[in-house]
Amino acid sequence: MNQAYAVAAVAVVVLATVLIGAYGLRISRTTSDFYVASRSVPPRLNAAAISGEYLSAASFLGVAGLVLAQGVDMLWYPVGYTAGYLVLLVFVAAPLRRSGAYTLPDFAEDRLESKRVRRVASAFVVGVGWLYLLPQLQGAGLTLGVVTGAPRWLGGALVAVVVTAAVAAGGMRSITFVQAFQYWLKLTALLVPAIFLVLAWQGDGAPRTTFDEPATFRERTKVTVEQTLRLNIKDPLGVAVHGRIDGVRHTGDKVALPPGPHRIDAGTVLEFAKGTAVPEATNGAYSSAGSRWSRPLSGSRDDHPLYASYGLIIATFLGTMGLPHVVVRFYTSPNGRAARRTTVVVLGLIGAFYLLPPVYGALGRLYAPELLLTGNTDAAVLVLPGKLFGGVGGDLLGALLAGGAFAAFLSTASGLTLSVAGVLTQDVLPSLGIRHFRLATCLAMAVPTAANAAVSNLPVADAVGLAFAVSASSFCPLLVLGIWWRGLTAAGALSGLLVGGGSALAAVAATISGRPQHGWPHALLAWPAVWSVPLGFLTMVLVSLATRAAIPASTGATMARLHLPEGAAGPVERVQGVGQ
């Protein structure tokens, strides 16, 4: 891949983002244009902004990588990410907008009149935000690494610096325009290469039989091992080796590896003959997807695939509504009705986007199977154009994809940083005063950056899934019960947040630290939503019933505000042209 094109594309994306952010709506207007200036954001623009902020590295790179490695089951990720908006629409969108709350802690305080619930909600917002920022930084490191060969930490650090600087300097002033631009950029960046790739695939005779075979090298392939690998080979494997395998140095001679575990040192170059089955790495999170890649529930890394599917479905369906950067964008809708319509458009926009990553995943399995060997499957989207085209065309498409991927990191990371920093200034560091937003921004970014350096091998989409699980177990019960049940009390909300969200968080911590590797304990901790969401709901309801006497006095008024359509009992609408 030509580095110059890719670097230029990334630079253009960063520059465009900062410029639109700073000057997007700073064009002066005179009074005659007042209506233009003071008109609210139309649902379409706002929907594009919400989608732009939402489609993260997990969507742009992670989904394709997971599909490549584990097959059709992984399509539940994009389906779940989209369904989350549908659930948000039917239970949360309009009432949340009508509450006037800007953040989730605002909603908690508004509904329950309790500073304590607010503080706990703030802690969870920060936790979920950090958990979600981590894979963004990892993805950035991966992208920059693939594109320029830079070390992994550098890309993450670059995104961290750009986002922190932009947010702290107030460069995200016209964030709606920035994020809407990012959506269309991401869609274009994924769509245009996809069209060319599919055409190339058809020109190649549209091979598809290999979909149900173990991945094989379709031609003679050289693979450079960047990190020391452990392989577990099932069938004897013949390969030309330039480097060290199992402690023995080879210089280009053909080696026959017997079945069993092998160790390949970093820097070794392996040369596979055409038609060789791809051996898969075991030191990543993956094990073999086996021969049933296109069949559901057949060969993922989990011992309990059905349970894992439901864990994923529940977390993504119910977790979207609790993501801090999602909620904040709804504030921009002028009223509840517009919030609803905006959400429908969002469903359309992200649905259209999610048609594309599976294409990359499937083509990646055909044309870039060595990613399975190195465990670097998240790079599938980035390397495909080079594999199918080569030359300037491939370079340009690759550059477009790299730019799109960077747009994904920038938009999601800046939205998250803004939300986390806002909560940190308001609820965690209030003693420092309002003006310490910059300090909070640095802190909001510093923690995930540090974690990024420490935890390096978490697959991007997986880490995002964990953030969803925590959000679904804490904020989903709070929002749904808060909006639809008058009986919710501050004590109930508090204990529900702590028990549901806390247990999900503990499970996430155990999974990231890699404690139980197999069997039910691993499945339960890796997919906590199945039990932690009902636990959160149950705790909230039971404790609220036990503390029934403490239902906030203003519940009736708040409920009326959340549910009454604007205009029915709202302010008298202006009548234009009186006397006609």
Partner: protein, 406 residues
């Protein structure tokens, strides 16, 4: 035959007359009983009518004048020889005979006012013809304690008089309470009007109407449009419900304000707006930007001849919306500005600034007051930082009047 006929006719006539008379009497008796009321009912009507006559003077409060008018009606209501109304210190009105007992009554009034209970006592009199022999004094109370007493006098001790006096005193008390209510409502309206006058200066209204009038002949269409803007603007400014509005509505009102000002000053006023659409739904105290804009216009236009440039910007700063209003007018001595913000600026200028600053601090806390940068001849830049969310701040209808206790 003829005689028979006459007889028959006469007989029929007599019979008819008798029947008619009987019916007439019957119907007359029945009608009187049903339609015009029994004596008891008529007494009730009489009482109610008398009471209704006594009510209007009392609704104006308890003064010598109203007491005099009411006392006559009240005495006929009670049917006593004499009746008197007092306030806390003296007799306000005495109706009927025995006016020479005033001093004697006042001796008892003190006690009644003190413990708030009615008292009855015999009246000693040297005049053998004086019919005032016995007195009942009942307190007249309103929301804030006893206002005075009602005393009724009879010729002998009477339980009926005690009861009747107490009832009438209670009725009078209700009227006085209503009078209080009327007064406080008037005060409230006055206060509101005062507040509105502070919000929209009478000069502005006068000047706007004058400017509109100047277009009536030359450009009737424009005059009509301006008049509609004016109506819309004043409707917003005078609206009654809710302490909060949205930034979008406030900006809309400012736009109308500008079109009225430009009608007068034309090209001398140059306005620039930079509004981030994200902050338009932010809730903020009603009419808290418009006075700032009015201030900027005043500084820029009315105190100088040069072209006035005003910039209004609203930007999104995370959890806050930052509104900046900047003018290139005459500016102000910082010391004088400090005076104004302390509320010592005098009536002429800056009521708006002080009022807005105060309200913002009240709603959002002391660190959200106005930040003003100015110097003589250096223009003025006013910055307001408005949190996007604050508990209890909602732009909708005033669902919750009282501030919440946290």
């Amino acid at each position: 035959m003829i005689a028979l006929c006459v007889l028959g006719t006469v007989a029929a006539a007599v019979a008819l007359f008798a029947a008619g008379a009987a019916f007439g009497r019957l119907s007359a008796r029945g009608g009187r009983a049903k339609d015009l009321g029994t004596p008891v009912e008529r007494a009730t009507f009489h009482t109610l009518h008398t009471a209704s006559l006594a009510a209007p003077p009392l609704r104006a409060g308890l003064t010598e004048d109203t007491a005099r008018k009411a006392a006559r009606r009240l005495r006929s209501l009670l049917g006593t020889h004499a009746l008197c109304l007092t306030d806390q210190a003296s007799v306000l009105a005495w109706d009927g005979s025995g006016g020479h007992h005033r001093a004697q009554v006042m001796e008892q009034v003190g006690q009644v006012l003190e413990n708030g209970r009615s008292q009855a006592f015999p009246v000693t009199c040297d005049d053998m013809d004086c019919q005032v022999r016995w007195a009942v004094v009942a307190p007249l109370t309103a929301d804030n304690g006893a206002l005075g007493t009602l005393a009724a006098f009879g010729s002998r001790e009477s339980a009926v008089l005690v009861r009747a006096t107490n009832e009438v005193a209670r009725w009078v008390s209700v009227q006085l309470e209503l009078a209080e209510l009327d007064r406080s409502r008037t005060r409230l309206i006055e206060a509101e009007i005062r507040a509105l006058r502070a919000q929209i200066s009478p000069h502005f209204i006068f000047n706007s109407l004058a400017a509109i009038a100047s277009f009536v002949r030359t450009d009737p269409e424009r005059a009509r449009e301006l008049l509609l803007e004016f109506a819309d603007f004043t409707r917003y400014s005078f609206r009654r419900h809710g302490d909060f509005t949205t930034l979008a509505d406030e900006l809309h009102s400012i736009q109308q304000y500008f079109s009225l000002v430009r009608a007068r000053f034309g090209e001398r006023l140059d306005v620039t707006l930079q509004i981030a659409p994200e902050v338009l739904p932010v809730a903020l105290p009603f009419l808290c930007l418009q006075p700032l804009v009015e201030n900027a216009v005043k500084h820029g236009l009315e105190d100088s001849v040069a072209k006035s440039r005003i910039t209004i910007s609203a930007s999104d700063e995370g959890a806050e919306a930052v509104v900046v209003i900047e003018d290139n007018g005459v500016g102000m001595e910082p010391e004088r500005l400090r005076q104004i913000l302390r509320g010592e600026g005098g009536p002429s200028s800056g009521i708006g600034l002080c009022n807005v600053d105060e309200r913002l601090r009240q709603v959002y806390g002391d660190d959200h007051g106005l930040v003003i940068e100015t110097g003589v001849g250096a223009g003025m830049k006013v910055t307001a930082r408005i949190p996007k969310y604050r508990a209890g701040v909602h732009s909708g209808p005033p669902l919750r009047r009282q501030p919440r206790a946290d």
